[in-house]
């Protein structure tokens, strides 16, 4: 039970999130992929906090809490943007949102 096991699991989770963000065409699933990558970063923060020598302040836990709050804000704005785009273009397929393509 060493730190590297946690790092490998979170790396795998990060890459699954990257896969979702790169290869899905539905806008909501790109957001889900980004959330997965943020969760992988949180696992790393908590694992490094747990395996490091004890400190006065629980810094890793604090960073993870702030990161969860920011991820929630990002999800709210992102999903609102998905709904706004759907109202305007009647689609959530990001391949069809190519108005600005040169």
């Amino acid at each position: 039970m060493t730190l590297s096991i946690f790092l490998i699991v979170s790396a795998a989770l990060f890459c699954i999130g990257l896969l979702a963000a790169l290869s899905r065409r539905h806008a909501i699933f790109i957001l889900i992929g980004i959330e997965m990558m943020l969760a992988a970063a949180n696992i790393n923060f908590i694992a490094f906090w747990r395996f490091a020598p004890p400190t006065a302040q629980p810094t890793g836990v604090m960073v993870a809490i702030f990161s969860i709050a920011i991820a929630a804000a990002e999800a709210a704005v992102g999903l609102a943007m998905v709904i706004a785009v759907y109202r305007h273009f009647r689609t959530t397929n990001v391949d069809q949102l190519n108005q600005l393509k040169g």
């Binding site: 039970m1 060493t2 730190l3 590297s4 096991i5 946690f6 790092l7 699991v9 790396a11 989770l13 990060f14 890459c15 699954i16 999130g17 990257l18 896969l19 979702a20 963000a21 790169l22 290869s23 065409r25 539905h26 909501i28 699933f29 889900i32 959330e35 997965m36 969760a39 949180n42 696992i43 908590i46 747990r50 395996f51 004890p54 302040q57 629980p58 836990v61 604090m62 993870a64 809490i65 969860i68 709050a69 920011i70 929630a72 804000a73 999800a75 709210a76 704005v77 999903l79 609102a80 943007m81 998905v82 709904i83 706004a84 759907y86 109202r87 009647r90 689609t91 397929n93 391949d95």
Partner: protein, 161 residues
Amino acid sequence: MNTIAFTIVAIFTLTFALAAATNPRLMHAALSFAVMFLAIAASFFLLGAEFVGLVQVFVYVGAVAVLIVFTILLTRRDAEKARGFNWSGVVIAIAVFAGLVWAIMKSASVSVAPSVIKALTVKQIGVALMGSYVWPLLCVGVLLTAALIGALILVIEDKRQ
């Protein structure tokens, strides 16, 4: 720390993450997303950060998953038509994973055993939040307020047209 418990939790996390990333049916993928966050919260419990695990369950399974389901229902009319998978994404993800695993294996300093720490109580977290982390806390409060007002303004329908 229990190795068997962590192995089970890790298998659950990665299986449901893969299901959420690849399932073409939107609702099933959203459900897998919620279960994946439960499994991640379980791994936080195993690591001794119970408060973060609880916050993760409240925020993600309670709020973000419901928000995603509502968005899927509101934008139901076109399901994902392009079912074809973008294989270049798979190649890039595998390449990034290989690079990360190579870096983790090469560094000797990460193969350490967990250190003995005292249990982290909610009181300690509260004291730290109100003490040395009070400015980040206020900034996150302002950010959340701005983000939620912004989200509301984005989805308000323009009645003037």
